[in-house]
Symmetry: C4
Subunit: 215 residues, 4 copies
């Protein structure tokens, strides 16, 4: 099965998702002359937007690179991809919850919003672990030849690390909300760093498999 349309559809979903996040910015209620204060009070919306844009953007960059290492798709991968997309679409809502609770600053509500975000991030990490396992068990789908085992050896603990970080974030949130928030940010930052590392490794593998040329 050709992989082009699956990529096009996924690109579409990521593009929409990353763009409709912006709909969380709503013109606030304000008294004439006090728009500045009203806009400044929206800093959590901007903050949550930056984090989620970075998060979804990193996932897309990863998706972009990873699917380039595959030469075809099949029914199983289509279903896993759909579940991955589903998990990523869920990030919009906790983003809005985090922004809202940071504005109202109620401790209990912030915990709920942060833990919600953590749970979705755990779910996303789980779908990645599923994807890795599936592709490793179907080496005929991949373009990488020689060093494929090395490649999967290098990344196989990435989802486990994500799960540990977000799991720790959930636990921490009940004791110190700011430690919880820090761990959540660390998780998103970790994905970005992991992408940069993965990206180099994937490019190298494909280049070697193709003798330095892209097909």
């Amino acid at each position: 099965m050709k992989i082009d349309r699956m990529q096009a559809f996924s690109d579409g979903v990521y593009a929409i998702l990353i763009t409709i996040l912006v709909l969380d910015f709503k013109v606030p209620d304000y008294h004439a002359g006090s728009l500045l204060m009203a806009v400044l009070r929206q800093w959590p919306t901007m903050f949550a937007y930056i984090v989620s844009f970075l998060y979804v953007g990193t996932i897309w960059l990863f998706h972009h690179d990873f699917f380039q290492t595959l030469k075809e798709t099949n029914t199983g991968l289509n279903v896993i991809n759909l579940v991955m997309l589903f998990s990523v679409t869920l990030i919009d809502y906790p983003t809005a919850l985090v922004a809202n609770t940071l504005i109202s600053q109620n401790r209990t509500d912030m915990q709920v919003a942060f833990v919600y975000y953590d749970i979705i991030a755990l779910f996303i990490s789980f779908t990645f672990a599923w994807l890795y396992t599936y592709v490793r068990n179907h080496p005929e789908m991949t373009r990488m030849k020689s060093d494929q085992p090395t490649f999967y050896q290098a990344i196989k603990y990435d989802p486990v690390r994500s799960v540990l970080i977000y799991g720790a974030a959930i636990v921490a949130t009940f004791f110190s909300i700011w430690l919880g928030a820090f761990l959540l940010l660390a998780g998103v930052g970790y994905h970005f760093v992991a992408y940069l590392r993965l990206s180099k490794s994937m490019q190298k593998s494909i280049r070697e498999a193709n003798n330095g040329e892209y097909k």
Copy 2:
């Protein structure tokens, strides 16, 4: 007429549709400190979202596989495809209605919402029956050679089965709302199972027509 742009446009519509379903998640009105309860009370929104994501996702997977069996499009198919897309875009609204009525738990309103969903599902199944009939009558559009009749023989009752399930769901809703809901879910589940079966059959047909290679 080349089929690429028609697929790209359809992919776009499906990608948007499946993603804007997520806009149904709205930050609820809640008293400070009670966000958890407010979020938990939104379970019907999550439930309806999961069902509709699965439904639209399955339709996209099917569309993806089925149009791969075609080698060109024409004015007739363009129009049928547009009507199909139209029917699928209608699913967003009853999804919201189902979520809302499950929250307010009024029996009469739930019946209205479920029957609305069933009617749109019937409409979608009808456009699929139309598509099958049209393509079967235009064998020159397809890549599948030898076993095309077998293929259409295998799937021709699928829309009829869908119509029966959703028809039964409508009737049942008036007697037992939960039986109606069960039949509606059975309909969506049936599409997913039917896709998995179809997918194998379509892949086999294309592979044989191409002597094992994709073009």
Copy 3:
């Protein structure tokens, strides 16, 4: 300049436009048990949605076919295409106005909504006239060789006819609102019929230019 990305971008805009029209369906305010009446009272939203879906869908089908007759784009065509897309994005708002005024049934407001829709339809027709004129003056951009003059001869009055229909619709709306509405619907219906006719003619031209084959 390659035309692929321009088509991809345009497909994206049309796909989004035709899909976000569906956001006009909002769960109505209703008393428990009276959802059915509330939903039935929304018939103008469904009606306006069907008309605008047909309208935007027809414009996309036309765009799809017409740009297949071109082999490259240039800065001028890019700008015209952007203005065309702009004009089409404007249709969402009068669609909502028409639906709203049909619900509240105030004669003056309905006239405003219908005339607004007519003006946007006039604007869209004008951008099509601009596109035709531009491409006719740049025959080097087209794939059609021999019968290009015949082709443009056949379609050159189409935008003029649209302008006449929508102009008549505007005038009529002030005397009889239903005649105005009828002419507006006639305009949208005319585009669909014109597309079916054009589609055949464009396909024939490309086929002949390519000796029966698509490139």
Copy 4:
């Protein structure tokens, strides 16, 4: 790394962004019979929409042409592109603020909205300067051979000019709000003119590199 999916994803983001701008048009509250006045009072929404559509449209046209001069992408360019897309998605919100404050006509609020728009425009210009610098330092990514230095010589002051215009707009807004608005419009107009100039120059370069043919 192939550049196709990066373009497709970017096209998707631009297409969505330019289309959801239209969601700012909301059916106003109005008394029966006074829809006309209510719609006319929305002129700032139309005005802000036209400006932002032209702005985002110009950026897309530029993106479309510029990325055609590149033959591959890499991790660095992917990250810069993501930051560019992020900066452009931010334009929706100040567009809505400008429209709102033009309606309520409070001088302080208008200053806030204009300066917000200017700051986002500065940010966008900065990402362009970053992109130019990066690609100039990675000549192996480009298709343009001979006159690449000339090309970057010609455009290298464009982002500097933008920064000066928007910087002047910010300062001016505090003294004369209309001069500030004029400079903001001049900035957007300047991008469009700069695109038309760039477009010719880029086309010429690619054509020469390919001996008059596109690959």
